[in-house]
Amino acid sequence: MSAISCRSVCKVFGEGQKRVTALDNVSLDIADGEFVTFVGASGCGKSTLLRILAGLETQSAGTIRAGAALVVGPGADRAMVFQDYSLYPWLTVIGNIKFPRQLAAHTRDRTSADVESASGRADALLRLMGLSHVAHAYPSQLSGGMQQRVAIARALMTRPRLLLMDEPFGALDAQTREVMHDLILHVSALEACTVLFVTHDVEEAIYLGRRVILMAPRPGRVDSIYDVPLPAERVLTMKYTPEFLALRFQILERIRETSGLRTDLGLLQRLSQ
């Protein structure tokens, strides 16, 4: 069974003159345990699709199933990691990670054994994400990279089947980002969860994804899907292999073609005169 399957999903924003088709007839199947990345020119609807899968937006038409269940609104089986500002500044790192435990969805029918396993889980996640030494710090005291580690740990707290990531490393510097790449690959393999990862960085998309789904704008749609010809176990040096570079070139070229944007050479020439 697929971890997630979309059938003819459409999304229309606005009404009347301002009507915009954000997604047009998107059908997708993502296998259990797969790491899939989404790229595309801005306006291609990749973030919208992710938000619909999370249940934060409702599709205008089509059906989505997570496992066997129809997706109708947010659920703890589909955790989301945002680019920024999603941590709770009034809670410490450990408080943030344990936050789901404050919610009825995770405390109903809870036994004392569950409570123990939950705090064990929080500690395990702290160690896994390298956060033990800052467990009692507030998010504002952490660097951007550390903050995103907390956000990922919190998302994993409830053992979601699906981890949805919306440009989670978009605000980080290049070096921190590389460290986070290896971390998220390691963690997702360990946790055996399916990851859907939206990014505008093609290199990131290829390095992380088993498959790269390229979306195109106006209207937002799935344009093409690329299998990444790299071993499952990724290492940094693979970024310099011919396969990697060829795929990167191919995807970038296709994004350029679908974006509808071109450098206005005529204008540049006139400006330089």
Partner: protein, 265 residues
């Protein structure tokens, strides 16, 4: 470090220098005031000296029941403000969270808040009467409508990502409000309470126009009738001092209640 760093936009200054400058900022007008009255170039009726004002505070305290005036005025201000907070907090929370409530109440509130509180005095006397309730009502009218809009804005400023993160963790609508929106907005809400408390004090004189026979505002109005300029000064300065003390109390609570906003990384 160049000597111009204090003039840098949003530049830095040591705590010590800050407080020295703050003291200078207070001392210079005070000194100017003293000199002006000591020179005798201005009539005492127009401008009483600082000593006169201090003496007036003394006789007010010993002969004119100053503490009673302070107590009753503080009660009126606090009661009107607290009552308005009691209604504005839940209403603002609803307006900030739900479009339906926003459409129903926000344009209406925006309209009413431009109406001058003073103009409501005859109506308040007609509807509420002329006793304590009337004074509290004026202060309520003066602060409530502003407060509702500020609370709604505080609630709306909670980052959407914080809300959506809770939703994807399985939080219900009530849980999102109770465990994310309210705690996230709390510091801003406390600031709103602090600022509106200041506004409540500014309505005191207006409120004590209504058949009062006690209070700082009433004392100022009465002093005007008898041309006791020093008492007007004393009343104004007392109101300012009480307001400043309350403001500092709010700031102290803010630092205590929200340590995460005051930590250094």
């Amino acid at each position: 470090m160049s000597q111009s760093s204090v003039w840098k936009i949003r530049g830095w200054m040591s705590q010590r220098n800050y407080w020295i400058l703050a003291a200078v900022g207070l001392a210079v007008p005070l000194a100017g005031w003293t000199v002006l009255t000591l020179l005798g170039s201005v009539s005492r009726v127009f401008l009483p000296g600082p000593i006169d004002v201090l003496q007036r505070v003394g006789t007010w305290f010993s002969d004119d029941r100053l503490l009673d005036d302070i107590a009753i005025s503080s009660f009126r201000v606090t009661a009107g403000w607290a009552l308005s907070a009691l209604v504005a907090m839940p209403l603002g929370l609803l307006i900030g969270n739900f479009r339906v409530m926003q459409a129903l109440f926000e344009p209406l509130t925006d309209f009413v808040r431009y109406m001058p509180a003073v103009a409501f005095i005859p109506l308040v006397m007609l509807w509420v009467g002329i006793d304590e309730a009337a004074k509290v009502a004026i202060i309520f009218i003066g602060t409530f409508f502003q407060m509702v809009l500020m609370v709604a804005e505080d609630v709306r400023r909670v980052p959407m990502a914080q809300i959506e993160a809770a939703q994807t963790m399985g939080a219900t609508r009530c849980e999102v409000i109770e465990k994310v929106i309210v705690p996230s907005a709390k510091p801003a809400l406390l600031d709103t309470l602090r600022i509106t408390m200041g506004w409540a004090w500014t309505y005191l004189v207006v409120a004590e126009l209504v058949a009062a026979n006690s209070g700082l505002g009433y004392a100022i109005i009465k002093a005007q009738r008898f041309l006791q300029t020093d008492k007007i000064f004393a009343g104004i300065i007392l109101i300012g001092t009480i307001g400043l003390a309350m403001d500092q109390t709010f700031r102290f609570i803010h630092r205590r209640a929200f340590p995460y906003l005051h930590v250094r990384s």
